[in-house]
Homo-oligomer: 217 residues x 2
């Protein structure tokens, strides 16, 4: 398989984690979102939305939307599972994932920051406040869902990582990229994040471990 990826993209990070958890060897093809690589004719043919990630399956079929890709990988390569077997538990895990993916992450992507800057003339402190606000809202909801639930374990659901942990790890990694981001209101989420990052699949998929990440000098 081949993954079009961008080091700092939460959505690409999610797919990188899932591919590693499943043990699927993947060629990484960086797309520089800030430079505008995603608008090329060739990439647009693969991903009409012009966003990352795109996963190219072994027969050349392009797959888009990170959560659709996670479900696809789980249905195609069932071990280890990324969703529990129990139907009610699956709904819980998906709800945690969607809370972050649909209600928090959309607000911090480059195309939204660009709209805020260029169309609404929001200055940088205003844009940072906006991003932190929505990241906080997402974490607050997820913390409440996790803290009240007896199924919460070392991970979001029990003792094995699921798509909820994948989305949580990507979200918190983005949050911690802000200087002095305050995680103290989210102790359960923080604890689970730490459990995730101890796993090789998460640690190796980290943005700063990517070939297209800026080098520390």
């Amino acid at each position: 398989m081949k993954l079009y990826t961008y080091w700092r993209s939460q959505a690409a990070f999610r797919v990188r984690i899932a591919l590693r958890l499943k043990g699927i060897e993947t060629e990484l093809e960086p797309i520089d979102i800030l430079k505008g690589d995603q608008f090329s004719v060739a990439y647009r043919a693969l991903n009409p939305e012009m966003v990352v990630p795109t996963l190219i399956d072994d027969d050349g079929t392009p797959l888009v939307q990170s959560l659709a890709i996670l479900e696809y990988l789980d249905e195609t390569y069932p071990e280890p599972p990324l969703l529990p077997r129990d139907i009610r538990a699956r709904a819980h895990v998906r709800a945690l994932a969607y809370t972050l993916v649909a209600d928090a992450h959309p607000f911090v992507v480059p195309r939204v920051r660009k709209y805020l800057e260029q169309e609404l003339h929001v200055d940088e402190p205003g844009r940072i406040k906006w991003m932190k606000h929505w990241m906080d809202e997402g974490l607050r909801a997820v913390e409440a869902l996790l803290a009240r639930d007896p199924r919460t374990g070392r991970f979001c659901y029990g003792e094995q990582p699921t798509i909820a942990d994948i989305c949580l790890a990507a979200h918190i990694t983005s949050a911690l990229a802000f200087p002095s981001y305050d995680m103290t209101p989210y102790p359960t989420a923080r604890r689970i994040f730490d459990s995730c990052m101890k796993l090789d699949a998460f640690a190796q998929a980290h943005p700063l471990k990517q070939p297209d990440a800026p080098r520390a000098n």
Copy 2:
């Protein structure tokens, strides 16, 4: 079952359609989002994110996040299916759904409009431009995915509605609530929307058919 709903919410609309497609009798409990009903202590205990919808299952368990609820209903009541059987097709249908749910809808909900108004002092024309921009972006991506795909039929995937159609119908219903919203760039999406709205399950779940909708005089 009991559904906490708001007439104009796209997310609640999605779940109302699915419940009707599955033939599940449901008590509707309106939550007035503009009045702030979602912030009550009682509702927050059911839905820590304080958003609609929340589905209360027959044993009293609250289920949150519309897409998690759609998947739950499909796993619990398999007929008629809301997802194709074929794994690759499931990924396609989910990708269409998430493009709208995660990359367009988040920008038009009341809490975001409120932030734009109160924190960023964006006036009403600016807020309308913002909303139309993201609705257009979502529709442009979905139109491209649908128009190029041989699997597109009377509905997003073949001849039966799936979760993609549910999300598309809710999205376009919101778009058409704007005076003079231009659907001409999206002929495939428009045609599928019309197919959807001919079905009772979609038509009866429409925002303006809800008990808490404003009455036409």
